[in-house]
């Protein structure tokens, strides 16, 4: 699966997605490393790498632009800073005065740093920028550690519909302006709304929000268009999604949801990587182990006990993995420790058997 993707010169974007804690960042870094070693100029966009992996990639808190990874030619790494990316968009689309109004507004500060979905949105934005620069043979994206893997697809729409919503329209449309047929009922609703908000949160709340929304409105036209374009790019030939999971119930369930969703949205799903799979065990069934323990020394019996437990875990894993319906599947054995250097990334066997 990975071999075919990397051998195809048309592949320009690989997105690794899945629930949190399944090794997305490590997988993305390993794929990028392999591509770079095949001679492709590759950048890996990470969201929140573990400290030691970040060190191995030469990333620090300030690595928000692609920079060369030491000792590996063609490999570049960068981190996403969502607030900074958001700021850049505002600065690019608004005049200086308006931009300042936005950047200083308390709502903006919240939206740019903590709104569920901003990170996903900004990852898309950054990907769009990297693609537009035409500098890269391959871009590998480690998607944000969403509560649910699906957030990655939904967030741009959610943020978009929020900023396009009725409340925003109401707040940005002066009461006298045409277009809004203000019936009496609607009008009283608005007054009720304004007075309730003022009562609960104080008058400044409403002033802040109106200022923010009015200022952001001018920026958002361009903003949304860009997101739509990036979304289209994900569907285009040259993009590939890889769903990452571990062989446990919840992450596999998330992976299945994600696979279904990618297929229904017409997104190019390359396959699934299952990390942390039990390694190969002794060629001895549970029945044979039981039989053997009857005449075994206490030491061998203890080893057989462990072996049988390992077999049970493995058969549970196999059952979970077999239920996944997807074009290709790659199992990565548990390395037994956190991977935190280039040698560790290289040792991940990405060309292993599919299915």
């Amino acid at each position: 699966m990975i071999r075919e993707l990397l051998n195809d010169p048309e592949t320009r974007v690989i997105l690794c997605c899945g629930s949190g804690g399944v090794g997305k960042t490590t997988t993305a870094a390993a794929i990028a490393l392999k591509a770079a070693e095949q001679g492709r100029k590759t950048v890996v966009l990470t969201i929140d790498p573990a400290r030691r992996l970040a060190q191995a990639l030469g990333l620090n808190e300030l690595s928000f632009e692609p920079h060369a990874v030491k000792d590996v030619s063609n490999l570049y790494a960068m981190q996403l800073d969502m607030k900074r990316t958001f700021d850049e968009i505002v600065l690019a689309h608004a005049d200086a005065k308006r931009a300042r109004t936005i950047l200083e507004n308390p709502f903006y500060k919240s939206l740019s740093s903590s709104f569920a979905g901003t990170q996903e949105y900004m990852a898309m934005e950054k990907l769009g920028q990297l693609l537009a620069s035409n500098e890269w043979d391959l871009i590998v994206v480690d998607t944000p550690p969403s509560r649910s893997a699906l957030d990655f697809l939904d967030a741009p729409a959610r943020l978009g519909s929020f900023l396009d919503g009725r409340l925003i329209k109401f707040l940005t449309t002066p009461a006298k302006a045409g277009g809004w047929a203000l019936t009496r009922i609607l009008n009283s609703g608005i007054q009720l709304f304004a007075s309730t908000v003022s009562k609960i949160l104080g008058g400044e709340f409403l002033a802040d929000i109106s200022a923010f929304v009015a200022a952001l409105d001018s920026v958002f036209g361009g903003f949304r268009k860009r997101a739509d374009e990036t979304y289209k790019l994900l569907k285009a030939p040259g993009s590939a999604f890889i769903v990452v999971a571990i062989p446990e119930r919840d992450p596999i369930r998330e992976a299945e949801f994600f696979i279904e969703r990618l297929i229904s949205e017409g997104m190019p799903l390359a396959g699934v990587i299952v990390n942390r799979v039990s390694p190969t065990l002794a060629p001895l069934t549970i029945a044979a182990s039981k039989e053997l323990s009857k005449s075994a020394s206490p030491e061998l019996a203890a080893a057989l006990e462990l072996h049988m437990e390992n077999l049970r875990v493995k058969s549970n894993e196999d059952r979970l993995i077999k239920a996944i319906k997807c074009p290709a599947l790659l199992r990565i054995e548990d390395a037994g420790a956190d991977i935190s250097d280039l040698a560790g990334l290289r040792s991940i066997n990405l060309s292993g058997n599919s299915l």
Binding site: I200, L201, L284
Partner: protein
């Protein structure tokens, strides 16, 4: 002594020496935070304490553990002495508006204009005030007085357990006041935030961490503990979940197939290394009140939950 002074004195006694009654459970994603929150609540309930278990992230992770499809936005009995509820910020805001303003129409108007969605998703800190507000109210609730403003009688709940957001967000989540400061400068929400903040920083509240005996989750727990202590919020237990049992393995020399023997030795070796690594990681937690939870090796069911809860009572 006037009645009022008496009340103050009693309050003083409570605030000086309170046993933690609000138990906030956090952990990195995938460490078993929800399971531990449920097991902790169940252990209190088993000991006879009237306990409320709150879910605040709408993940519907708690309900299946108690054999239910979901948890509603109201307190329902899910086991003996144990009540559960899923706190939804939209519902909480509507309830709030109705409670303070007796204005159901206003709430509906707000919903119509998307302000409920707006307020509960974007307004900094507002969502968290609403989510923690329920825990605040329930923790201080007295019989016959829902708002908890009198000091008469015992508490309705002996313990409130919250399945809280993950470690990455817990500091921000509990430090309500700081979050809201830039936004709501006056008004009842602001006042409520101040009261919640007081409870969170008092001895009545304690935050338990859930982690695995692995590098990344332990690192994240340590960072969260530092952050919480910096904020003046009390940290309770560190639950280390999925601990591998330490087993004795000797070398065997039984006359068996050599391929099988080598493979079995590899399995033993791998297990030993895993336990060694686990012990090394645990050393990082030596300064904390660690409770180890054995690896269950099967999906969590209510029986498993009871088993963990019983273990917690004895710990």
């Amino acid at each position: 002594m006037t009645a009022r002074a008496q009340k103050c004195n009693r309050y003083y006694a409570v605030s000086m020496n309170p046993a933690p009654r609000l138990h906030v459970v956090t952990g990195k994603g995938g460490t078993g935070k929800t399971t531990l929150a449920a097991a902790l609540a169940l252990s209190f309930a088993q000991a006879g304490a009237e306990t409320l278990l709150l879910e605040v992230e709408g993940r519907a992770g708690l309900a299946p553990l108690f054999g239910r499809g979901d948890l509603p936005y109201q307190e329902v009995e899910i086991a003996k002495n144990l009540w559960g509820m899923s706190v939804d910020p939209r519902e909480a805001l509507l309830e709030y508006i109705e409670m303070y303003y007796k204005a159901g129409a206003a709430g509906r108007a707000l919903a119509k204009f998307g302000v409920i969605d707006f307020a509960t998703t974007i307004a900094p800190g507002l969502r968290d005030v609403l989510l923690t507000g329920k825990a605040y109210e329930a923790t201080r609730r007295r019989p016959g007085n829902k708002s908890g403003s009198t000091f008469e009688g015992p508490w309705v709940y002996d313990a409130v357990v919250m399945d809280a957001p993950p470690t990455g967000r817990i500091g921000k989540f509990l430090d309500i006041n700081a979050q809201l400061a830039s936004l709501a400068k006056v008004g009842p929400i602001r006042k409520q935030a101040e009261s919640i903040s007081e409870l969170m920083h008092s001895g009545m509240t304690t935050v338990h961490m859930v982690t695995l005996p692995e590098e990344m989750p332990i690192q994240e727990s340590l960072e969260a503990i530092t952050e919480l202590r910096g904020l003046g919020i009390q940290v309770g237990h560190v639950f280390v979940n999925q601990m591998q049992e330490e087993k004795e393995f000797g070398t065997f020399s039984d006359p068996i197939d050599s391929t099988v023997a080598t493979a079995l030795r590899t399995e033993v070796d791998r297990y030993r290394k895993r336990v060694t690594r686990q012990q090394e990681q645990l050393k990082l937690l030596k300064d904390f009140d660690v409770i180890e939870i054995a690896h269950m090796g099967e999906e969590i069911s209510f029986e498993i939950l009871e088993f963990i809860a019983t273990g917690l009572r004895e710990a």
